[in-house]
Symmetry: C2
Subunit: 212 residues, 2 copies
DNA sequence: TTATAACCGAACACATTGTTCCGAAACAAG
DNA sequence: CTTGTTTCGGAACAATGTGTTCGGTTATAA
């Protein structure tokens, strides 16, 4: 009577790692790919319709036409689905070699351009209707990028480290604020214009602070 | 058998208005004041312990030692309690005459100072563990302040209006990012240092953009 | 073809929300 | 102090959402 069969969905998978450091997988079984994609797409649709907070797991499985037990065989949470969607956006955050000499904040333009192409997904994940978790993680990643870039561009001795933190926070905060309003459609501008505005406000202050 | 008696808690109240434009009241009945304050304090405590999202209404009424029906006689939501707490912080946002000549972004230092005094409350309401609604509203209010300040300091013709929006977004984004990390204790600095860092990064870019 | 794994869906226990009701207690006014 | 009013407490309730279990069915890969 004891059920010794281990019930595992998503078995023979190869490991991949997303921007969160979580392990994600690419399946060999067609059913698995089908189910996961259906749920992910359903989440994006529902976020754009009602906002992330308002989306329930019941909504998801109805929209995706997936059984309840099936859902929980693949994802632990609503949030798990949210994060799984980030695989597609992760490449975007991986650019920025950080040690290449050049103009400051080189990540800006490519990032705006990439988000422009993925408008729909970006809006769902990064906009106000999306959960704040994605933005928070993006902020974190961007902070290390900016920090490394500044340390590479200027001799580390010229500034006390805690002052550097303050500066990084300012720069990242300005960028993320621009980005959020842009994907939400509250700002109408081309990627080039966004990049120009960001750099115009932020760069002079940074360079003066480093007395270049 | 019909209950014609209108059951209203919180009756003979004088109107007040908070930063959200909602009407709040100061009661003459001691029981009412006692109940409201108990719930508000309970929320602050619980936010600092578990974070806003994790706090349930049941948690609130247990911590505050208040009956369930009593709670719903005073507040509609968890969020309603959150907003009601803002009365204490509202004065902080009301400063900034906006039309007085002087250094740019004069709101910055007083705001950091005031938040430093109200450390505990500020952390609960504005920090990561607090709901994002408060931050969102603060951002909105600050945006109009910054916008008015820039329009007052520079002739409106010198800049296209949509470019102004971009700049305002940058400035507000930088400030709010600093503020959030500061109240969360991720940044250790005095109010004066916070103000200096904010102005150092942001001011040069703004003044150059307006070719002063 | 066949063994296996994924799927469906119902049923379940549990938590949370917001409402209703009534007796008890606190309050303010006279 | 008495009296009429208002608030409080707390149980009970329906409604909704979550996450788990399990037996039967179907799709998949080899």
């Amino acid at each position: 009577m004891v059920n010794k069969q281990i019930r595992r969905a998503v078995p023979y998978w190869t490991e991949v790692e997303d921007v969160f450091g979580n392990s994600r997988r690419g399946s060999s079984d067609r059913r698995v790919r089908r189910t996961r994609k259906a749920v992910q797409q359903a989440l994006v649709e529902l976020i754009l319709e009602k906002g992330y907070e308002a989306v329930t797991v019941t909504d998801l499985i109805n929209r995706a036409n997936v059984g309840r037990s099936t859902f929980y065989a693949h994802f632990t949470d609503k949030q798990d689905v949210l994060f799984s969607n980030l695989d597609e956006l992760s490449s975007l955050l991986r650019l920025a070699p950080a040690s290449r000499p050049g103009p400051l904040f080189a990540f800006s333009l490519p990032m705006f351009e990439h988000l422009h192409e993925q408008r729909r997904l970006a809006r769902a994940l990064l906009g106000r209707r999306g959960g704040s978790a994605v933005m928070a993680r993006g902020e974190q990643i961007l902070a290390t990028i900016v920090r490394d870039e500044l340390l590479a561009a200027f001799p580390p001795r010229s500034t006390p480290p805690d002052s550097l933190d303050l500066m990084v926070t300012c720069v990242v905060g300005a960028f993320m604020a621009l980005l959020r309003k842009w994907v939400d459609g509250e700002l109408t501008a081309t990627p080039a214009e966004m990049d120009a505005a960001f750099r115009a406000v932020v760069t002079p202050g940074v360079e003066i602070a480093f007395r270049r």
